[in-house]
Structures are given as structure tokens and as C-alpha cells.
Symmetry: C2
């Protein structure tokens, strides 16, 4: 189902290799797609456009403004609040972050001002190409005015100037860090992401030095990874790679953002790397990671971060550049929703053209990329986990406590959930709520009825491609070693297309099989059909009985389908966001997916159809 | 006498207050001048233009190129070898200096790249306004190509960023400093001039860090003066002021430039200051100073310069921004002149419009300012000086050795002499050499003949305003306390104008009295007529006899008159350069000047008329 506005594009000319051209009156979503890259610009504007996600009216993703995390308004017709071309940034403006009450109490942006391009970890670094400069806003963020002064951080401090990158300043306050670094309470810090050529990726830590944020004191590379190293064997947190980007730093406890003494340091970061041979100007991989750890200071005043656990903030290969922010309990959104705790919320950038390198028909679509659904982060606990071989790290969890008599441990990790306001709105705003009866499925089970050997259609499927689906899967103990088991759901399905989302114990992975996701993949370059996958360990949970028995942790899935955006959340600690460019209007069916000889029970299956229009004021 | 080319300007319109205008066919130098600021542009081009000095074909002083220090050629029609407008220097280019065999063996300019204006020690400093960048030349210096990278020194190192200035990088090598700072032998250093707001002026020392001069290691403020402090009571070296500029650093021994262990560190520097109340954007005074001292290193690796003596490199208030350079014995000029020692040569900038602030008729002149005659610097010795009250410092000399039995000391100071090739050329190239008989002059002496009470015309005066005059004055012991004594010369004299150059013991000063120098001063703003003065102490020199008697040191004067440029050199350790804008053609007479009751003997009086055309290839 597409918006009627889509039909404003009533005639598209399809040209094949500039030889044969045909004019079509309208795009048919009930027939096989043409090569979409030959359509008129913006003719696909609404085809795959999400409804509840944050993205600008057109073009690239820009700046949203929301009172409640659910609905947004465009603050100006031109969503660009800062442009390159100044003395400090003649060629580009990279990421920054805002001190809410900065210079003279005004919101103050610390951003990367760029003087020379190209910049990439794969090529020699041009000294001075990335500096950090200030801008302030006098109109609530619609525009930022650059300060009439040079960069406040003119480069990585001597002698570590031969960097792979030095950008994306993230500003934050931290009473914990104030104590560790013996700072004036309430001072601002900034972490700048990059790395040292030949040595590896780094986060550079600076501290505010004066009231005008004119000078920043270097506190050291508070975190440095060896070049192309990984956390453990890389199973749980990919590679640190060669260069860090977009680092955020914050402290979490079980409730959310916290400055209390029980809170721990977390950082989110982008890691860039390639397989050898490294090709200049090609960064083959970007991974959006997180880490938590301990912070200490040296006698020379430098501060060090030592990870204790690390993982992927999102397993989707096109989910990157997470930007997080403290959302205090006193904020408009929190007060509106009755949230009484401080939160750390985060958005990721979801690129639909592989960071600008794929042949996706962007011109035909007329917009590019989106932000993911906003998430809340907290420290999560997995309690009563059997202290068996599955617990061993380094991993994306650590042992918080141990009960030797029960042979159990409590594990902690990073929890990520859809922001409570958004989740609540998806439920309360649903135009239709479909409850599919729970069932146990095995290849031999009668429940399959007339369905095919490995699938079972929902009794009711949504009529659109906008919905949130929740369900919980329960596995028998035998599932642990059931190498043939796959269990999950098929979504966005029709006789022509379908996307499979399933967990398999064989490699402890949650997989989104996109090989049959889009009929357009057959006609159009850039409609990618490769699998997306992420690693999720389901632990053995002690039963509580005296005999030491345990059961496999259940798999609680939440799947948000916002037209082409598919986000899979699992057990509050796993997220995989990706694109599914289904073509046919009728590709809205959902079915259970099961393969293998071990039975799986699906419970609490609900589909909330409709989502929320994030941009009610847009035409 | 003016060049005949001057008469190409045959008609000038004189407008008085835009009411009465009259056209004159030619400028008459045998009649009183009109208000020159109402003449056509460039109508005064040749009126005051020097012959043997370094200045561009027209406009502001630029870049000369000379094989022999005497004659110069223009290397290109546009004498500008670097312009602002690049990424690092969008608004201005300030001073720099060249590493002769720099990047890839190419001459490499390290210069101040300017991003924000205004910049002055009297106003708050805009961070990042002055950075240091590199440019290289591929055509022997006609043009310098900026490197495609950011500043190699992006600013004063944290936390001393609240500066009064940070500019004019002077590059040098120094085996002595290599030893003191434990450096790789042959490494390059740069000293950057400026100061710290509220604390005082500084020279910032940096050391080359890599083969491409991309990074420079900060070795500390190797020299820092308290704000507005002076050397001793300020008698001999003015004030350190609030901000340093154009610092040069080099080592000298008695022969000239030297790396031998007996050589000492010298620095030349510009000092900026004002009387209170300090008016924003007005630097009232600029002084061109020198200092010599000892260099040591601290345990933390920083290097310190501690002055032992200091003085004025030139007492002329418009002589500033000295730029010096090592001229090795292997250089073309030295080989040509048979000079077998390494030399340190230096030019000063002589502004004729008070650093752009006076009303001098620059447009009518069509050119502005010049460089002074090039000088050689060395460490000089004043031997057998009576160790009396005159020796006490701090001063522009220091005691090098003491002979207690003879009650004498040997003093050392900075020696400055006209570069030997230039002096030799002035002698050998003279179109007329006038030898005036030596004589003793006192008010009662018969030698006065028919001359007026306090002057005595030379038997022969030059017929032009281009000459070098040398003479030595001998004073009786009684002169030391003769408060009414003035002895010297009148030059550029006629019945309408004259300039008095004389020494007086009353304040140990050598004075250029310009109050009657120019008839144009009466008609034209900016033709300044204030006195110039410098301090010179004539010591008591032991006679060598057993009774401990002594005589006053003689005063050896060399006066270079190059049309309007007048440079007075005394005893190889005093220079005063200024402008004398005489108007009348006949103002070429010279006379002895004597006032007071004490007789003075003038010996060895020679006038070498003609000088040398420094620009033989110019039309």
C-alpha cells in the first residue's frame, strides 16, 4: 500500500541502455518491476518510504526536532543547520555535538571543520584536514552561526599527529570522570574519534579549559586499540579495525543514564577496516560497536578506558554513526510520558546506498537513508544464568556476580529497547491489532495443517507494510545441539517475494535472509539481496529447582517493519536494522518459519499494524 | 640632483582644499615646495628615491635578489612571491623564513598564515588567527607554492593559547642548541615571536620533528619577558614591551657567524608597547632590539635563553622588522669578495609613513619604504676600557674579562658594520672622493674663519645627495662633563634646509636634528621633522701608561646619505637609520658642527660621492 501522493508521478520513461525507451503511465506494484534506475527522479519517492522513522522531507537525512520522540516537525524549510564554506571549514562539515547551555548560555555546537579532502584511514592523512570548531545557535537550532575564531582544537596534539582520523567530537559531562581526572565538577569533556597510523584506532579525550570553550586540555588517548585487533576472537564485537568514528561516551546503570556510583562507562563507536590488501580510499567495513569498561587515571594525568565487555550496537551492515544524547527526566518528552529516570537515547544512521557506494536508484527515490527508531540504552542483567561454557568471555557480557552453590551467574550487558514512548505509540496507535494464536511447531506436528513443510501462514496478516510484530520463541533443551534448526518468521511475503527472519543455534545467529526479498533485485542494481546476520547467545537459565536443571533462554523478538525498514530486536540486547525493498503490493503476508527436527513454541504473537506518522505536519 | 627621468612628470595639478587648483609644468626643486599631497600620483617618484638601497620598482618593499650584496636584479615583473587567499591564509600572509634545502631538497618557506584579522597585542587575540604553514619554490624563489596541507604549527601549544601574537617563524640550525637540547645534529629550529596576554612578550622555540617539516616539537618559551619590562632601566635597550615580533636567532663570534664553541647566542627582535592608557588597535611604539645571552635546558626538556646584554639594533624609530640570514663563506657573494668567514647579514625595513599611519604623500611618491643598507653582525670587543662607573650594566655590553692590576676590562657587544662588499663599492665606485682636512674646532679657535659661530662649511661639498661620509672625532677628557658640548656635522644643507647630526655627552646621545631638514615639512603633512636620537656611551680607554691615565674613546662616524635615506653608523656598534626629506636641489652642503666651550678634533674626513646604483637593470 502506497500513499496516494505517489501517483503524482504518473509518467515515467524507462530507458534500457539508452536504446529502447518506453513511457509508462504509472508504476505498477502488482506487476514485475522494471529496472528502477531508469525511472524519472523521485518516481519511487513513496515506494519504500518509512512512516514512523526520522528522515527529512527529501534528500539526505538531516535534523529532526521532536517533543515526544514519536512525532517530529521540520523546523525550517531548509533542514541544513550548518554548511561548509567558512574559514575553518572551507570544504566540509563533519559530525559534532551540542553543549545545551554553552557560550553565554547558548546551545553550542562543537563540530569537525574540514579544510582538506579526501580523508580516509586508507590513505595518508593531510595534516590539518580535520579540526574542531564552535558554532552557536540563536534560533533554537534552526541555524548555527560559526564563531569568528579558529578551531578550538586545531588538531591531535603533538606528537601523535600522524593520524588516520580526528573527528566527530562528542561532548559530555561526567561526575565520575570529574573524580577520576580530578576535574572541576561539571566541566565538559569531548571525545574525538580517530586513530594513529600504523598503531590503531583511538578515542582522544579532551577537557574544557575555559568558560568560552576556546581551549581544550588533552587528557590522552583514553582508549586505543591495536591496529585491526578485535575484542577476543571478534565473535561478539567485530573488529576494532584501523580507525574509530562517531564515538559517544556516557554512563549507565540498570535504569538508564546515571551519574550514580553504580553506573558504568559505556561508549558507542564506529570502527573502520578492510581485508588485506587494503585498497586506498576504500573502507570495506564499518561496524557500529559498543563497549563498556573501567576508567582510571595515570600519575601524569592521562585517563584510560579499559573495556570489560563489547558488542555490536547494531548488526546491520548499513546501520552506523550512532548519535546519542542524555534525555533527562526533566525533559519535555520524559515529562510528557511520565518517565522519571534520566535516559540515554540513541539514533543510528541507516544508509540505503552502502555509504554512497552502491548503485541504489537514489535519484529515482528522491530521498536517501533514514535514522533508525530511537532506542533507550541501559545496563541490562541476565539473571540466574548457568555458569557453563556459554558464559566465557571476552564477550558482549561480563559476569556481575556468581552464586557458587547454585552454579549460576548474573551477567550484565548493554540493553537496547525501543524508546518507551515510541513502543507505546506503536501499540496505542495501531489501526489493527492482530493476535495470532501461539503454537508449537515441529516438522511432524499436526499444527502445520496445509502449510508447506517449513512455513505456516498467519491466520491474519497485515494489509500494509507498516507494523510492529512481537513474539517469544521457546526452545527445548535439545535445540542447543539441533544443527538443522531454524525458527522465526517470514514477513513481507507474497508468491513473488518474502523475507525470512530466523534464529539458528548452529552458529548462534539471527539471520535476515533477503535473497528473495525484492522482485526489483532482479531488474535494478543496488537492490541488495545478501543476508544480514547477527550473533545472539541464548544462555542456559537455571530452573530454580534443586537438581540444578536449566532451560534455554527464550527468544523475545520485536520486529518493526516500516515499509522498507526492518528492525529486529531480540531479548533487549540485540538489534539488527536493515532494508527490505519488497516490490509487490500484496507482499504483506506473515508466516511462521520452522526448519529442522526440533519443535519450537511461538507465544504471544501480536502484530500492531499502522505504526505512527512521525511527520504529521508534512503534506 | 634628480634623475632626468623624474621630469617625465611634467604637469602636476595642485589643489588646495579642493577650491583653488593650479597646473604646474614641472616640480621646481629650486623653489619652495607646494603641498605635496596634492600632486598627481608618482609625481615625487624620484624626489627622494635612494640609489644604493634595496626597494622594489614601485610600491611597497618586496623581494630582492643579489649576487654580491651590492647590485640587485628583479627576478620577476611581479615581485610578490606569495599571496594570501589559500585555505590556511584566507586573509593575510605574514613574515616567514626559508630552509634552503627543505622538503625534497627544495627551498621551503615557513611563514605565518593568517585566518582572522585584526591582530594586535592591544586587542583580544582571536584563536587560530595566526598559524605557521609551508610553501616551496620550484623556480628559485620567484614564486612559492603552498603545500596542500594544514598549518604545520597550528597555534601556540596548550595551555599558553591566550597570546598577544604568534608569528614570524625564523628557521635556523645550531650545533650549540643541538647539544643543549639533546637534538639530532643538524635539525632545524624555529623561533616564533609573540607574547602571553597579561604576562609579557615571548619567543616560542620549536624543533623540527620529521623529514617533511610537518610537525614541530615545542621546546618552551625559550625567552619570556615580564609585560612592559625593560633591560635594566631601559636606557640601552628600550622596553621589552608587550609583544615580540620578527625574532631572529643566531650565534656570533668575533669574526661573524660561527658554530664554534666560543660563539654566543644573539637574537634580534621587534618589541611592541604603548604608554598607558593603552588604546585598542594602536601600538604606539615599536623598537628594533637585539639581545645576547646564555642558553640552557631544563630537566623537562625545555630550553631557556637568559640575556646577558641587550641593545637597539637601530635607534631610528622607523627602522624595524630586521631580517637576517646566514651568508656562508661558500656563498656566491662571499667567494666573489674573497670573504673567507661565515657571516650573518641583516636588513631592516625602513618605513617612511610610520608603519602606514602617517600622512606621508605616498601616492605622490609612488613607492613606499626601503630596506636599510645590508649589515654584517659580529661580536665586538672594546679593549682596555677603564673599569669605572661607565662600565656598569645591565647595558648593551658585558664584561668579558678584567685586568685588576690595570683596572681595565674588555667589554663585548654586538658589532654592526656595513657589509664589506657594499662599503668597498661605495669607496671604489665613488665618482668623486672629497678629503676634507682634519681640524680641531672650539668656539675660540681661529679655524672657524668666517663661518658662523657654530659651523664651518667643508671646503668641498658633494654636488649630489648620494654619498658616504666618514670621520673620527676625538674628545679631550674635559668633554665628559662638558654639558654644553655638541659636535658633529651638518648635511643636506642650504640656506633653506639642513640636518644636524651630532653627539653630546650631556645625555650620551647621537642626535639627528630634523627640525630644519625639509622645506616640504611646512607645506605637506607626513614630512616629519622630529628629532631622531640614539644612546652611545664613549668609554674611557686606558692610555697604557703606568699612571692609570685614560682618554675618551673616539667617535668614528660613517654617514650614508642615499638621497632621503640617512644612516649613521658609530664605532661599529651604533646605527641610526632615518629619512631626511630635503627639498632644494642645492641642499647638498656639508659643514662641521660644534657648540660648546670644549674643543673637538675631526680627523680622517672623507666623502665618497656617488654610491652605487643597486638596480643597474632597471630603466
Amino acid at each position: 500500500m502506497r500513499s496516494s501522493i505517489a501517483w503524482a508521478v504518473i509518467a515515467s520513461t524507462i530507458c534500457v541502455q539508452q536504446v529502447a525507451c518506453a513511457t509508462v503511465d504509472r508504476i505498477e506494484y502488482n506487476a514485475a518491476p522494471p529496472n528502477l534506475s531508469h525511472l524519472f527522479n523521485s518516481s519511487l519517492f513513496y515506494t519504500w518510504r518509512p512512516r514512523s522513522h526520522v528522515l527529512p522531507p527529501n534528500g539526505q537525512i538531516g535534523d529532526p526536532c521532536s517533543p515526544d520522540l514519536v512525532r517530529y516537525t521540520d523546523v525550517s524549510t531548509d533542514p541544513t543547520f550548518i554548511r561548509s564554506g567558512g574559514i575553518n571549514d572551507p570544504v566540509a562539515v563533519f559530525d559534532g555535538s551540542v553543549i545545551p547551555y554553552g557560550i553565554n548560555g547558548t546551545p553550542t555546537l562543537l563540530y569537525t571543520s574540514v579544510s582538506y579532502l579526501p580523508i580516509q584511514w586508507t590513505i595518508p592523512y593531510t595534516k590539518g584536514s580535520e579540526t574542531q570548531s564552535l558554532a552557536v545557535t540563536y534560533d533554537g537550532g534552526k541555524n548555527f552561526t560559526k564563531l569568528n575564531e579558529g578551531p578550538v582544537i586545531p588538531g591531535p596534539p603533538f606528537p601523535v599527529t600522524n593520524v588516520t582520523g580526528f573527528r566527530d567530537p562528542y561532548v559530555f559531562q561526567s561526575p565520575q570522570l570529574d573524580r577520576t581526572a580530578n576535574s572541576t565538577p561539571g566541566i565538559w569533556y569531548t571525545v574525538i574519534s580517530g586513530g594513529i597510523r600504523g598503531e590503531g584506532p583511538s578515542q582522544f579525550l579532551f577537557r574544557q579549559y575555559d568558560a568560552d570553550y576556546r581551549d581544550w586540555e588533552f587528557l590522552g588517548q583514553w582508549w586505543h586499540g591495536a591496529a585491526n585487533s578485535s575484542w577476543g576472537d571478534g565473535t561478539w564485537a567485530g573488529r576494532w579495525g584501523f580507525n574509530f568514528e562517531v564515538g559517544n561516551v556516557f554512563t549507565l546503570n540498570d535504569e538508564g543514564y546515571s551519574n550514580s556510583t553504580d553506573a558504568e562507562f559505556f561508549t558507542t563507536l564506529g570502527a573502520e577496516w578492510s581485508e588485506v590488501p587494503i585498497i586506498p580510499q576504500v573502507s570495506q567495513f564499518r561496524e557500529m560497536l559498543w563497549a563498556s569498561g573501567n576508567v582510571s587515571s595515570s600519575s601524569n594525568g592521562s585517563v584510560h578506558f579499559e573495556p570489560t565487555m563489547a558488542g555490536k550496537l547494531d548488526f546491520g551492515v548499513f546501520a552506523y554513526a550512532a548519535a546519542g544524547k542524555l534525555l533527562p527526566a526533566t525533559s519535555q518528552a520524559s515529562k510528557h510520558s511520565g518517565t522519571t529516570v534520566d535516559r540515554f537515547i540513541i539514533y543510528l544512521w541507516l544508509t540505503n546506498d552502502n555509504f554512497g557506494t552502491s548503485a541504489f536508484p537514489t535519484l529515482q527515490q528522491g530521498w536517501s537513508s533514514t535514522l533508525t527508531t530511537v532506542r533507550e540504552l541501559s545496563r541490562g542483567t541476565m539473571a540466574n544464568v548457568k555458569n557453563d561454557y556459554l558464559v566465557a568471555g571476552p564477550a558482549s557480557w561480563r559476569v556481575a556476580s556468581q552464586d557458587k552453590s547454585a552454579s549460576t551467574v548474573d551477567l550484565v550487558t548493554l540493553n537496547q529497547t525501543i524508546a518507551r514512548e515510541v513502543r507505546a505509540a506503536f501499540v496505542s496507535n495501531a489501526t489493527r491489532t492482530i493476535t495470532e494464536p501461539g503454537r508449537t511447531i515441529s516438522t511432524s506436528a499436526s499444527g502445520y495443517g496445509n502449510a508447506s513443510a517449513n512455513s505456516l501462514n498467519f491466520a491474519q496478516s497485515p494489509s500494509s507494510k507498516f507494523f510492529m510484530l512481537t513474539t517469544t520463541l521457546h526452545f527445548p533443551t535439545a535445540a542447543r545441539n539441533a544443527t538443522d534448526l531454524k525458527a522465526g518468521l517470514r514477513i513481507l511475503s507474497s508468491e513473488y517475494e518474502s523475507t525470512s527472519i530466523y534464529y539458528q543455534f548452529a552458529n548462534e545467529s539471527l539471520i535476515i535472509d533477503r535473497s528473495n526479498s525484492s522482485a526489483a533485485a532482479a531488474t535494478t542494481p543496488g537492490i541488495l539481496s545478501n543476508n544480514e546476520a547477527g550473533r545472539l547467545r541464548l544462555f542456559n537459565i537455571a530452573s530454580g529447582s534443586a537438581n540444578g536443571s536449566s532451560s534455554i533462554e527464550s527468544l523475545a523478538l520485536t520486529i518493526v517493519v516500516d515499509n522498507s525498514v526492518v528492525e529486529v530486536y531480540a531479548n533487549d540486547r540485540f538489534v539488527l536494522s536493515t532494508w527490505v525493498w519488497s516490490w509487490y503490493d500484496q507482499s504483506t503476508e506473515i508466516s511462521f518459519l520452522h526448519e529442522g527436527s526440533t519443535a519450537v513454541r511461538f507465544d504471544d504473537v501480536v502484530v500492531y499494524e499502522g505504526l505512527v506518522d512521525a511527520w504529521p505536519s508534512r503534506p
